[in-house]
């Protein structure tokens, strides 16, 4: 560190100390290490400083100091993100919103809640459950993830097939830009004048500003639920049945699929009673008023039988339903028991291509001499192939990365996307070069500059530089596969 840098750092640190309460500025190396990674644990960097403001005024003050001294800012929610969107920088400040945890208002007549960004997703539903209401998006991390992080990632969940993503369930946010402007976007109304900056904020990965308040829609909790498990002796008919359910005019609350390896891993782990000889199961949840649920159940059952389901079970009681879901919800840790390491993909494909894509993923896995388990949101075509490998075996990580790249390229090739819900972060920057051409990426950079001309708000995330893509393009043509230079070789 040069003297100049050291002086500047000391200056910034003392300024931050002036505006933050005791315990809200973390400078001690061991304490900072807690923030070195988010849910994408393969990528780590210890931040220079961590600020944990308790009020919006403190957020503004931190941003002002960072702006004056040209310090990059990395916003962070609960740190559960899976793509490294909150990956810190050694020369930057992590701006953690975890102390902003107030539910500011529950407005029952308007069926909305106004909350601070650090409020946990599940805490919103818990706070309004007594009124028969809930907040619909339910990412699998909902017990821990924060609503501010959900906004940054436009999070989905098991039920977004019917109830939509964060963008469909948030009516307003307060967005603070790096320049310190406060934008009140939306509110308790169903639309707002001006450009739809609210929609633009959703999924912007903290690149356009910091969200300090979120107004969410509350929906009436569905009075009835049924969960149905259908087993299939082969993968392809199960995948085809997914499209057939939708084509029949049914929109289940959730429609999930697990393949043979995932079924057997989950069953060995939690004993949910899954049929271990099946090569695929579909879990279908129907919800709504009793008359609707019963009518839909008959139709779903008919479609699944027509597509060769070898067994169909229906869970009516909450206990039985929880048991059927248990295997699905435990699938990721279950797979973790059968392989030392796994690498989770997040591509989305058109439903009609599910069967082809799953078969092709199997072929690609064989080519790379690796196993893949599939556990995913079949209803909206959002795949989560888990590539199983052992980082201690020389070459396996490299093969896993190469296979992951091929799978995401396949998703783009069939008309899908490289990320359905986990975000780009730092993890999928290279795949963005496959999905978007240079003019589209350049347009995204200009869009960011409109909000953050200095380019210091979560820099380097979500949208790759054109230079990176050009370099990658050259390597791509040369090597015939996507490398992953951002993943450390451990």
């Amino acid at each position: 560190m040069t003297d100049d840098t050291a002086t500047r750092r000391n200056r910034v640190e003392s300024l931050l100390r002036e505006v933050l309460p005791d315990g809200s500025l973390i400078t001690e190396p061991r304490a900072r290490r807690i923030f070195e990674t988010d849910g994408l644990t393969a990528i780590r960097e210890v931040p220079w400083l961590v600020a944990l403001p308790e009020t919006e005024a403190q957020v503004l003050a931190v941003l002002r100091i960072c702006r004056d001294h040209e310090v990059p800012v990395v916003p962070r929610g609960a740190g559960t993100g899976l793509s490294g969107g909150a990956r810190p920088r050694a020369d930057g400040v992590v701006l953690g919103l975890s102390k902003l945890t107030a539910i500011l208002e529950v407005d029952l007549p308007n069926c909305v809640a106004r909350v601070q960004p650090g409020v946990r997703n599940l805490a919103i539903s818990e706070a309004v459950a007594e009124h028969g209401l809930y907040y619909a998006p339910d990412p699998s991390s909902q017990i821990a993830c924060s609503i501010g992080g959900n906004v940054a990632e436009n999070s989905g969940g098991v039920h977004c097939l019917k109830y939509g993503l964060t963008v469909h369930n948030v009516l307003g946010v307060r967005l603070i830009t790096f320049e310190g402007d406060v934008l009140e976007l939306g509110g308790k109304t169903f639309d707002a004048p001006g450009y739809d900056l609210l929609a633009l904020t959703m999924g912007s990965e903290g690149m356009l500003g910091v969200v300090t308040e979120v107004t969410v829609r509350l929906l009436p909790a569905p009075p009835e639920k049924r969960v149905l498990l259908a087993a299939f002796a082969e993968l392809a008919p199960a995948a085809e049945a997914v499209g057939a359910v939708i084509a029949a005019g049914l929109i289940p609350a959730g429609l999930e699929m697990m393949d043979g390896p995932a079924i057997r891993a989950a069953e060995a782990f939690v004993h949910a009673g899954y049929p271990v000889d099946a090569e695929a199961i579909l879990l279908c949840e129907l919800d709504g008023v009793a008359a609707e649920v019963d009518a839909d159940l008959v139709r779903v059952r008919r479609v699944l039988q027509a597509h060769g389901a070898s067994e169909i079970r229906v869970a009516v009681t909450p206990e039985d339903q929880a048991r059927l879901w248990l295997g699905r919800k435990s699938a990721f840790p279950a797979v973790g028991r059968i392989a030392p390491d796994s690498y989770c993909m997040d591509g989305t494909v058109p439903r009609a291509r599910l069967a082809d894509v799953l078969v092709r993923i199997g072929e690609l896995a064989a080519e790379h001499e690796l196993a893949v388990a599939n556990v995913f949101h079949a209803g909206d075509g959002n795949l989560h192939p888990l590539i199983l490998y052992d980082a201690n075996v020389p070459g396996e990580l490299g093969r896993a990365e190469a296979l992951g790249g091929r799978i995401l390229e396949l998703c783009v090739a069939v008309g899908g996307t490289v990320t359905g819900e986990h975000g780009v972060g730092v993890e999928k920057l290279d795949q963005m070069c496959v999905q978007f051409d240079a003019p589209a990426l350049a347009q995204m950079h200009r869009l960011k500059a409109a909000f953050d001309p200095a380019g210091l708000m979560n820099p380097g995330k979500a949208v790759p530089s054109l230079g990176r893509c050009a370099e990658l393009g050259g390597m791509h043509v040369h090597g015939g596969r996507l490398p992953f230079p951002n993943l450390p070789r451990f």
Binding site: N154, T189, P193, A291, E292
Partner: protein
């Protein structure tokens, strides 16, 4: 006749950029009355997307349709109806016109918006021509897609000021098996009270409208569910089946007189009530205020917003927004259209025309 005019449209944009001129984007021109009072006038040449039309991809099991921007809504909906699907955001067809591009650009959602989503909720992807004349694709054809900024949804309601839409993918939904409308003779205050009570209950309501002493409630879903809800809600009358289309397209006589305003409010807001057509369970209101400034003040105090339903409606980034939001809107516009080629009068320059 369907045709691909994308290259010609982009070339026209590039020409404007080189010559320092502007153009007015026009689809079927059915919503010109929302922008033509805004100084656009005939002096800005029109660029029409009307013959850039045709459905590019439609597979009903994907619940997505992709079409060129000039595709007429009636043509689009004919194809959807054949597969028993529909545009859940119910875009209005004023003067029986309307294109997909115009529906997205103007961002107007129909009577079902609180229950079945808005235009922007349905947008999954776009191909657009920016002010440089570049053809750019954002989003895609799948429901879940978080790759890059959501430039696609940003186009909804941007009135073409961020680019010329060339093709759009929107989510579609199955047509409900059964639809029934209930009516309740009541006053506006009680109508709001009823809507408020129903909002917290899982009834299959997909539209409400209070007008002239009658609350109209649309139920839609499985036959048994609609029947059960109709029994539970009661009501005292039957309904003309065209009512909701007439509401959507402003063919009700209520809309005929001048001086109309549209307001968007927190649904439970207790004013304005008198003389109002109240839709979206209270979230959208149409009425004729005596005093525009007083109306604006009232709406702002209630956490809502509104404006005259006339030629000034399309000024998205101009008047009546907080200065800070105008500033970011202008920057955003320039990020897409630095030469100010598109609809310049709909996005006045910063420090330009006062309103």
């Amino acid at each position: 006749m369907d045709g691909d005019r994308a290259e010609a449209l982009c070339a026209a944009v590039r020409r404007c950029g080189e010559q320092g001129t502007s153009l007015r984007i026009v689809g079927s021109d059915s919503k010109a009355f929302l922008t033509d009072g805004d100084g656009g006038g005939p002096e800005t040449p029109a660029l029409s997307t009307a013959d850039h039309s045709g459905v590019l991809d439609y597979r009903p099991e994907e619940l997505v349709i992709t079409a060129r921007s000039g595709t007429r809504l009636e043509d689009l909906e004919r194809q959807l109806t054949e597969a028993d699907q529909e545009l859940a955001f119910e875009p209005p067809r004023f003067h029986r016109g309307g294109t997909l591009g115009g529906a997205v650009a103007c961002g107007l959602s129909g009577p079902g918006r609180p229950w079945r989503g808005s235009v922007r909720d349905a947008v999954l992807g776009v191909e657009l021509c920016n002010g440089h004349g570049e053809r750019l694709r954002f989003g895609g054809q799948v429901m879940k897609n978080v790759a890059g900024y959501d430039v696609s949804r940003l186009q909804a309601g941007a009135f073409g000021t961020l680019g010329l839409l060339l093709a759009i993918s929107v989510k579609v939904l199955p047509r409900p098996a059964a639809v029934r409308t209930l009516t309740f003779s009541t006053n506006p205050g009680q109508a709001l009270e009823l809507c408020r009570g129903w909002a917290a209950r899982p009834h299959p309501i997909t539209a409400t409208c209070y007008l002239d002493g009658v609350l109209h409630v649309r139920l839609a879903g499985a036959e048994a569910a609609v029947r059960a809800a109709a029994r539970a809600l009661g009501g005292d009358g039957a309904q003309d089946p065209d009512f909701w289309d007439d509401l959507r397209d402003h063919r009700l006589t209520f809309f005929a007189q001048p001086g109309l305003w549209r307001a968007s409010l927190p649904p439970a807001a207790e004013r304005p009530l008198n003389g109002c057509l109240i839709s979206w369970a209270g979230g959208e209101r149409w009425w004729r205020p005596d005093d525009g400034d007083a109306a604006r003040g009232l709406l702002a105090a209630l956490g809502g917003h509104g404006r005259p339903w006339d030629g000034s409606f399309g000024s998205r980034t101009g008047p009546h927004l907080p200065a800070v939001e105008q500033r970011y809107g202008q920057r955003l516009r320039l990020a897409f259209d630095p030469h100010r080629v598109f609809n310049p009068e709909l996005a006045p320059a910063e420090g330009g025309r006062a309103d």
